[in-house]
């Protein structure tokens, strides 16, 4: 793998993170590469989701949190005071554990973000809806029911709608927080295929509890334990020949 400086989209330098007085992340330094899928794995409470939420400043919403160190997105520290979290979140989309479409029509779910950020022309919006839904491989299933409530879709369709909704903002990065943990195996397979497709144009960082999923979809894998990054390497290496004992114990099911 070629790792050149301009290939790196996120650069974390000695990041510490606190919820009040409890430290959730300790001394995390890692790079994320452009147009790659990076998986973050580890047992519950290891800090992987916290780290994901640091990358688009979603942790800002929680009272009493504190970040130390630097998180550079395309070279600039997103936690600098002059960086607007709203602007950052437009560049870095997020998909959540449970599908969370708005109780609006499919069309309005996708146009919600773009409308509030300036796209008002109806034709532009229609084009955007079609593009986003096609990217999320949902277009064929919903093209005739765009005005129906998103709540009538199945769980797997809802999650792809949420991905389409994030894509409509034309982000550079897509953060996925256990995106298939609430879905059945078929929907999961569809989302995994979709991730494969999306990585051509997006940088994807995915948190998952399903280790086979991490092995299938990602090129790089980071293993977290007790708020620390234990091992970060090529996914094939992590899953066939990890270098750290804790990683091996975790992925072979010898934990706890």
């Amino acid at each position: 793998m070629v790792t050149t400086a301009n290939n790196i989209i996120f650069e974390l330098k000695q990041v510490n993170f606190f919820y009040g007085s409890t430290q959730a992340l300790t001394d995390i330094s890692m790079d994320f590469e452009k147009n790659r899928v990076t998986a973050l794995i580890g047992p519950s409470g290891c800090g992987k989701s916290t780290l994901l939420r640091l990358l688009n400043r979603m942790n800002d919403l929680i009272d009493g949190t504190r970040v130390e160190g630097e998180i550079l997105f395309e070279g600039r520290n997103i936690y600098n005071a002059d960086n607007d979290p709203v602007e950052i979140r437009r560049r870095i989309g997020m998909v959540f554990q449970k599908p969370n479409p708005f109780p609006k029509s499919i069309f309005n779910n996708i146009t919600y973000g773009p409308r509030l950020t300036g796209t008002r022309n109806r034709a532009d919006l229609e084009l955007l809806v079609e593009q986003s839904l096609k990217q999320a491989v949902l277009w064929d299933e919903v093209k005739d029911i765009l005005n129906k409530s998103a709540m009538t879709l199945s769980g797997g369709q809802q999650q792809r709608l949420c991905i389409a909704r994030a894509l409509a903002m034309k982000p550079d990065v897509l953060l996925m927080d256990e995106p298939t943990s609430a879905l059945d195996p078929i929907s999961t397979a569809k989302i995994e295929d979709l991730i494969e497709e999306l990585k051509k144009n997006y940088t994807i960082i995915i948190v998952t509890h399903n280790m086979q999923q991490a092995a299938r979809v990602s090129e790089m894998t980071g293993f977290f334990y007790l708020g620390r990054l234990i091992e970060y390497a090529l996914t094939t290496d992590i899953f066939t020949n990890p270098q750290v004992k804790q990683t091996e114990d975790y992925i072979t099911g010898r934990f706890g």
């Binding site: 979140r89 989309g93 109780p103 919600y112 903002m169």
Partner: protein, 292 residues
């Protein structure tokens, strides 16, 4: 262990029956009280109800005629109260549940709001008299009465709105914020629309309360008698609950006006129940629509 120990089974069954019957009785008692009250009011008041009763002003020292000015007065007062309390209450609720850091100050504010809800209504009346009528020189008027009633129902509206806002799933907020929509935009486009059914229900229940209160308007808005309808918000009005109070205690013809008293009560109760029914209808309609 003997599973067929008849003794213990019978005993347990008996205990269970006794307990069930106690709670059943309690429920029955409540329903009976409500039913009895309604039946009594309907039976006593129904013969007074007529088209004239609802559309004409009182005459002959209020021993005859209708109660139209009181209906109109109550209508204006409650409308005014809601116009004042709803924006204020919803705004406070948004501040409390969406913006304020959950800490000591918010806790103190909440306690304050709850205390406000527990204050006897006559105290609101006196406060209204002292502050709006006398100090702000609004006089005894729709404005003073509506302000007083507004403050009275404010805790109800704040409480209901806060609950409704909290009931909007956090995931909606996160989804919107993650799309790069500002906090205010998220509240306006996502949180408020989804909380609206709850807010409306709570507010309408507040209206019901405002319509039925006597003490707060006694000193601030209600007129003993006025045949004309109000022309501005600085006019005094008659109001249904105060009209009943006047007829039943202060008049010289208490016995002759019994049927008018009950008729007025019936109209008031019908009004309040009607408002509550609207609230229930709105709530169930909105509930059917939401699917999270």
């Amino acid at each position: 262990m003997n599973l067929t120990s008849d003794n213990s089974i019978t005993w347990r069954y008996a205990k269970q029956q006794v307990f069930f019957n106690i709670v059943r009785l309690a429920a029955l008692l409540i329903s009976a009280a409500l039913g009895g009250l309604l039946l009594f009011i309907i039976a006593s008041g129904i013969q007074a109800i007529s088209w004239d009763f609802i559309t004409l002003p009182p005459r002959d020292s209020m021993t005859k005629g209708g109660i139209m000015p009181a209906i109109v007065g109550t209508f204006y007062l409650t409308l005014g109260a809601i116009a004042i309390a709803l924006p204020l209450g919803v705004a406070s609720a948004i501040y409390l549940s969406e913006y304020a850091r959950q800490g000591t100050i918010v806790r103190i504010i909440r306690i304050g709001v709850n205390c406000l809800a527990g204050v006897p209504s006559v105290v609101f009346g006196l406060f209204g008299l002292g502050f709006f009528v006398v100090y702000l020189k609004f006089g005894s008027s729709i404005l003073s009465g509506a302000l007083t009633l507004g403050i009275l129902i404010l805790p109800t509206i704040i409480g209901a709105s806060e609950e409704a806002l909290k009931a909007v799933p956090q995931t909606f907020r996160e989804a919107s914020l993650a799309l790069g929509v500002s906090k205010w935009g998220t509240i306006l486009r996502i949180v408020l629309p989804n909380a609206l059914p709850g807010i409306l229900t709570g507010s309408i229940l507040g209206i019901g309360r405002a319509a039925g209160e006597t003490a707060p308007i006694m000193f601030t808005a209600a007129a003993f008698f006025t045949a004309k309808l109000p022309e501005s918000i600085f006019d005094e009005v008659m109001a249904l609950p105060y009209h009943v109070y006047v007829l039943a205690t202060a008049g010289t013809h208490i016995e002759e006006t019994r049927s008018i008293q009950y008729g007025t009560v019936l109209v008031l109760v019908a009004l309040v129940l009607g408002i509550d029914l609207i609230a229930i209808a709105i709530r169930s309609a909105m509930r059917k629509r939401k699917k999270w």
